[in-house]
Subunit: 357 residues, 2 copies
């Protein structure tokens, strides 16, 4: 091997060409084994590969992308990375992307629209090949949607289905999940059940409530309006726990007794749990509690939270597979219809529910 390219710059394909005695085009063909490499005799291939390795050649990805218009990068925009729900989905996404040799660019919108838009802009500038948006929480309104479609790159939304949208989505079956949560409480003998519903503006609130209503109808269970409260529509995720705490306290003050409480999600359940503890009510002996999501802390609680699990890993994986399909279709100039996938939720029985005594 002769001397490495002297000064700072990295080894280029031309260095390999010169060193191996072939033309740059040949080197390129061999190293990518492009269609044309069919005609290149093994000896040549070996020679080129050897010198490439010897020189420590790494193709310059900018040049490569400049021609191919591809960069094996997707953008992931989420609305709050400190939300454990996001974290688990992110893990699912990461696993799948890794297998496809894609790398994610991460953006956290902090639940702020301006930030979301800025990030979206940055991603488009970077020509990410696709976009994954985690919109579990929050109010993704029509404008954001428009923004999204403006970029006209393949996009999948996770956690929220945009009605009549050309953008694919992956969601959980909220209604079914809530149905089975309530069924679980019912089967344990609970009849006086309190509900802390999610913020009205959230589509998942509505869907979960539909599940509750459907079960109630199916089994002729009375839902006492006095035992139904709503979380306020607000932005701050972390306040969710505090709100739930406060609301549960109010529920308790009413002296309307209940033997079980179904929370909108796990965070809400944590708040309720705290309120019950403060009131000296033992969980699950005196009151059962069930959440929704199965976020990371839930199984750490003492007692561990019974909940309905969102298959976040699978959701991430599913989103990625839809996205990659979209990307490859786009690369081949095929258009493909939006896909809306809804995954089943799974009841996870732990320690906060028990049969009525």
């Amino acid at each position: 091997m002769k001397k490495q390219k002297s000064r700072k710059g990295a080894v280029t394909i031309r260095d390999v060409a010169r060193e191996s005695g072939f033309a740059a085009s040949t080197v390129s063909i061999v190293l990518n084994n492009a269609p044309l490499s069919r005609y290149i005799p093994p000896a040549t291939k070996a020679r080129i590969q050897k010198t490439a390795k010897g020189l420590g050649y790494h193709p310059n990805i900018f040049a490569k992308s400049l021609r191919s218009k591809r960069n094996h990068t997707v953008g992931v925009i989420l609305f709050d990375i400190t939300d454990p729900y996001c974290t688990l989905i992110l893990r699912g996404i990461e696993k799948s992307l890794y297998q496809e040799s894609y790398l994610p660019i991460l953006a956290d919108a902090h639940n702020e629209r301006a930030r979301f838009e800025r990030y979206l802009e940055m991603m488009l500038e970077r020509r990410v090949e696709g976009l994954l948006v985690l919109a579990n929480w929050l109010y993704l309104d029509i404008n954001v949607l428009a923004d999204l479609e403006r970029g006209k790159i393949p996009t999948v939304i996770i956690g929220r289905e945009l009605e009549s949208s050309a953008t694919s989505s992956v969601t959980v079956d909220d209604e079914g999940g809530a149905y089975s949560a309530l069924a679980h409480l019912y089967s344990l003998g609970h009849r006086k059940i309190a509900f802390v519903r999610g913020p009205k503006a959230l589509s998942s609130s509505k869907a979960r409530w539909r599940g509750v209503q459907r079960f109630a109808r199916d089994s002729r269970l009375d839902l006492d309006p006095k035992l139904i409260v709503d979380l306020p529509d607000q932005i701050n995720l972390n306040a969710g726990v505090d709100d739930a705490f406060r609301i549960t306290e109010e529920l308790l003050k009413q002296k309307k007794s209940f033997t079980a409480l179904m929370a909108y999600d796990d965070m809400t359940a944590f708040g309720a749990l705290r309120a019950l503890a403060k009131a000296g009510i033992k969980v699950p002996q005196e009151c059962s509690i069930i959440g929704f999501d199965d976020v990371n802390p839930s199984h750490l609680m003492v007692p561990a939270l019974t909940t309905v699990r969102q298959p976040m890993d699978a959701m991430g994986a599913s989103a990625v597979s839809i996205l990659i399909d979209g990307i490859t279709s786009a690369a081949e100039n095929r258009t493909v219809a939006a896909i809306h996938r809804k995954l089943p939720a799974e009841l996870v029985i732990r320690e906060t529910t028990q049969s009525i005594s």
Copy 2:
């Protein structure tokens, strides 16, 4: 405005040039306001800017990077994104990067060395301008270090200081934190204190233990060897809670009484909490508990965990600022010495500690 560039391709600088009647070079100079733009009259600037906007021109970042060798992207490699510790630091990183208009590429090594290496490779291929490694947990041995330096791009390690390394780091003052944790228990009157130490292989385990010892010496507190147990050296993070649970149970079986327990970290504390609950020991009435880290779930617990907070936001920010400095220095061909910054930890008193009755 004439017709947009007809077929698929995006608007290029030449389109803007043609449309505005100036040369591409001029357009470039104006749009970036390069030094030369000093001579360009405002009228021209305005014209060019207007047509650029009108045409919806976005510079192609690949071409740009190809020349400038910069892409405003840094790589972030972490070892387990489901670890809430990582999440909070990530948030800190993200916030600071955003301000500098950098975007992170995210890689999760899943605590696997092979994965780490693969990801590192991918990042280097992509020519990220800098690298942030979150190495809180886990055994970053000498080889990984070598790998890191091979890339010879600015790098900052968070959560772990590599002895005698040319790579910058940001860590927390483990020793001081542990010192104040124990001081807190002591001030509440606790004298019979149990310790669940971290895995021996972890440098933070050692540092925290040093803090304990130092306090014990300073205040002539006896550390009962029977009350000191170690978490096993193992990889699986989530098993950490289970290990802590098991070990605390064993501690309890010994019938060696204690009034307070200091855990290696919050996760460990959660495990201990569970073991105590199972044994019917009330926290904090019968036994106080203190953790370390202040990860997200800690304040959600009932009772909420008293702990020593790592300033993760600040750590992320600090790491980013060091990194950006490194990047700009590198861009100007200056070399700069590695920086090792150690941030103070902060005692957060919540509900799991109380004075001895």
